[in-house]
């Protein structure tokens, strides 16, 4: 499922990122790689997402959470 539909407070594992080289590279640099567990701190329908990964808070834009598949 896409990260976009995960509710706040849930912990999920990244399965894959649907995106080009640059997007993948950027997310990897921020610690968002397949297999990594992330905690959704804030989810919203219109606004950006806030997740915790490897001990840091990362804000993800609306478009990006659609492209990250989690389980």
């Amino acid at each position: 499922m896409p990260l976009a539909i995960v509710q706040s407070g849930r912990r999920v594992r990244i399965v894959t990122v649907n995106g080009g080289y640059r997007l993948k590279a950027r997310l990897a640099a921020m610690g968002l790689v397949p297999g990594e567990e992330v905690k959704v701190l804030r989810s919203s329908i219109h606004g950006p997402f806030l997740v915790e990964v490897k001990g840091s808070k990362i804000m993800l834009g609306r478009g990006m959470v659609q492209k990250i598949l989690v389980s």
Partner: protein, 738 residues
């Protein structure tokens, strides 16, 4: 041993890199041109045991993938300028993520020193780090530091110097020995660098790396410039920037084949597999060398965030903070502004008094009206600029700015931009120039261009004196604050509309999704904030000293030459003599009449000058906005720098060294124009052409004259249309013309 060591400072954003830089170099810093928030090359010098170290602060990056301009700048510096040592500043309370960059630096094979910064924080969070063990994993010296307390800086310097010495030793040794490049071993001697540890990417990937590497080795032009293993990995990762460097179709074909094979066997793309392997290496190393004794969450940060970023409280808190920033900037800034004003007033009076009477030469006029008037008018804003940047750097260093971007993202998204564009726009209220530079943090070119385009619509500090002059001249006391608020708001609204229009026309396309870290809250250090503030102030003064000074002289010249013809001057002289004879007994009447003649002569002289003539020529064009040639003349000055408008208006109305507090000038404006025209002046100054310096920066940052000119002309047309509509509608409805 070299007498000078070049040290590059790398690190993630928010790792405390700039505090380390400040601790290393102190006040001996040099900033090239106008710096953005983190970009531009900052350099500083320091000494250790008689060795000079030149420290270059690279932009803060999460990796070396050349995802953004920042990353490209950092990577190119390391590859092309080959610093003697690279120091990677690491937030040791967030080791794994921060070590990702360290791994990439390690793979690049540069002499590396790791500064484990914020080691006190790591300890407080219960991390116990076995420095020696970790150091062996990364093949680099590790020094624990606490940047904001200056702890560990001496040790860091020692490690830098020793690493540089080893590096040069290795280089010498390498020249003697023949290069053995054993790919299968974990340790290899590579390039002209030191012994480097490499990551084992597993059999599948390693095989493909070897295939590409052997092709690269054959191409000497590539092999001489890059470490081939590193390059092979980067090419497998599909690094666009480096793929462009490869000319041979054979290599490209191999890369395609290798990528396909990796994906087929491992079931994930090569870049994902490689990134995964890097994190695997890191987490393996951390498992061996780092022990977490207690589990403590960043509770304080968490609590602040739950309030500050909440959907309902977030926006009002943000707006309140912004109000506080601007309020403080202008109330605290007032007293020093008065001192500066008084000083320049005193200076020009002194020069005038000292000047021998009777020899009222051009030089005096140049000095008093041109130089002192012009430069004084700029330095007056220094307190405002300093205070504004003080506030901005406190907000930035504390970590709040990222929250502001988070809060604003929703709103910014509606206008086709995202939260990150907000910070440059905010800086735009101070000055468009650093604001445009600050857009470098935006990765997408379309986002960047849109943001840069609308930044001049954020009313900058230099436009404030225009409002401060005009508002009290035309509007009653109670209207002052709402009027100012209206002007600023109009700017923001127009910016939103323009951005929206740009996003559906010239800069069409889906906005690129973005990621941003929200760093834990931190206490800003006084040193860091002060250095930041001083930097901005200095850049502003430099602008005053160079651009504005020459512009002032130029303006003085075009308002002075050509001078009135002799017969005209003789006519005024004759009038003066007549008055003196006629009112010989009535001193008061005599002085009044003489002043009137003087003013008439100065006005006539200005009308006769180049500026006056230009004003006259463009007057028909300005008529629909309610402007006359005098305003037209002042507009010429405003292109040089917005604040010059006031001084220029002062000259046009022959008030002498006028500033925005000049009551005489206000009186004259009141007599000449209606409040409607007053409002139109402000509106036009807000929206029309950005100043010359902004245009120059726009050209440099967009890398095209096309965009700089498009901005200049586009904004001026918008300003012209809006101001004309306001004036015409106002006239029609008889608003503000009484």
């Amino acid at each position: 041993m070299k007498s000078k060591i070049i040290v590059a400072l790398a690190g993630n954003p928010n790792s405390g890199k700039s505090t380390i830089f400040n601790e290393l170099t102190g006040a001996r810093q040099h900033v090239g041109n106008y710096p953005g928030v983190t970009v531009e090359r900052k350099e500083g010098l320091c000494r250790y045991n008689g060795i000079e170290l030149q420290v270059v602060d690279l932009p803060g990056t999460y990796s070396l993938t050349a995802y953004s301009e920042d990353e490209l700048v950092a990577r190119n510096f390391i590859i092309n300028e080959k610093p003697d040592v690279v120091v990677d500043v690491i937030d040791s309370s967030n080791l794994e993520r921060n070590l990702y960059l360290a791994v990439q630096l390690m793979e690049l094979g540069v002499p590396l020193v790791l500064a484990f910064n914020m080691s006190d924080l790591a300890k407080a969070r219960g991390y116990e780090i076995d420095i020696n063990k970790l150091s062996r994993f990364f093949g680099a010296r590790i020094v624990q530091t606490i940047g904001n307390k200056g702890t560990g800086i001496k040790e860091l310097l020692k490690a830098i110097v020793e690493t540089a010495e080893n590096g040069s030793l290795n280089r010498e040794r390498k020249e003697k020995e023949t290069l053995t490049n054993d790919l299968s071993s974990r340790v290899s001697i590579r390039g002209a660098r030191k012994v480097t540890l490499t990551i084992n990417y597993g059999r599948v990937i390693e095989e493909e790396i070897a295939k590409i590497q052997s092709l690269l080795e054959a191409d000497t032009s590539i092999a001489n410039r890059y470490d081939t293993r590193w390059l092979a990995i980067k090419l497998l990762e599909n690094d666009r920037d480096l793929l462009k460097e490869i000319k041979s179709p054979k290599i490209h074909k191999q890369i395609e084949k290798s990528r396909a094979r990796i994906e087929e066997i491992l079931g994930e793309s090569a870049e994902t597999a490689i990134a995964g392997a890097r994190y695997g290496f890191i987490s393996g190393a951390c498992q061996e060398a780092v022990r977490s004794t207690i589990e403590i969450r960043h509770t304080i940060s968490e609590k602040i965030d739950s309030v500050v970023t909440s959907r309902f409280l977030g926006p009002p808190i943000f707006l309140g903070l912004m109000y506080l920033v601007f309020h403080l900037t202008f109330t605290l800034g007032n007293p020093p502004m008065e001192w500066i004003e008084n000083f320049f007033g005193w200076l020009s009076r002194t020069i005038q008094r000292w000047w021998p009477t009777g020899s009222e030469s051009l030089l005096k006029s140049l000095l008093v009206d041109g130089v002192i008037g012009g430069v004084g008018g700029v330095i007056v804003f220094l307190p405002n600029i300093l205070l504004l940047f003080l506030a901005i750097s406190i907000l930035e260093d504390s970590g709040y700015m990222a929250r502001a971007a988070f809060i604003m993202d929703r709103l910014m998204h509606k206008i086709g931009l995202h939260g990150k564009s907000f910070i440059p726009m905010l800086i735009g209220f101070g000055c468009s120039i650093p604001a445009i530079m600050a857009t470098r943090t935006l990765e997408d070119r379309r986002d960047r261009l849109t943001t840069m385009f609308v930044i001049p619509l954020m009313s900058c500090g230099a436009r404030l004196p225009i409002y401060s002059l005009i508002i009290p001249a035309f509007f009653p006391q109670a209207w002052h604050a709402p009027m100012l608020w209206t002007i600023y708001t109009i700017g923001i609204v127009v910016a939103i509309l323009v951005a929206k229009i740009l996003r559906v026309t010239v800069l069409k396309g889906e906005s690129v999704p973005f990621v941003m870290e929200l760093p834990p809250y931190r206490m800003p250090t006084i040193k860091g904030v002060m250095i930041h503030m001083w930097e901005r102030g200095w850049l502003y003064l430099k602008k005053a000293g160079t651009i504005i000074l020459s512009i002032s002289i130029l303006l003085w010249a075009i308002t002075t030459f050509p001078r009135l013809p002799a017969e005209e001057r003789a006519r005024f002289e004759k009038e003066r003599l007549t008055v003196q004879a006629k009112f010989a007994n009535d001193d008061k009447e005599k002085t009044a009449r003489l002043t009137a003649i003087d003013n008439a002569e100065i006005e006539a002289a200005l009308e006769y000058s180049i500026a006056g003539r230009i004003g006259r020529v463009i007057e028909p064009l300005l008529k629909p906005m309610g402007f006359d040639w005098k305003i037209g003349t002042a507009l010429i000055g405003a292109f040089a720098a917005k604040e010059v408008f006031v001084a220029q208006l002062g000259i046009v109305y022959s008030v002498g060294e006028a500033d925005e507090e000049s009551e005489t000038l206000r009186q004259k404006l009141q007599n000449s124009y209606s409040p409607l025209v007053g409002f139109c002046i402000m509106l036009f100054m807000l929206l029309s052409m950005p100043c010359m310096a902004t245009m120059a920066v726009m050209k440099r940052e967009s890398n095209s004259w096309k965009w700089a000119l498009f901005q200049l002309i586009g904004l001026t047309i918008i300003a012209y249309m809006l101001t004309t509509s306001v004036y015409q509608i106002g006239q029609l409805l008889k608003i503000g013309i009484g």
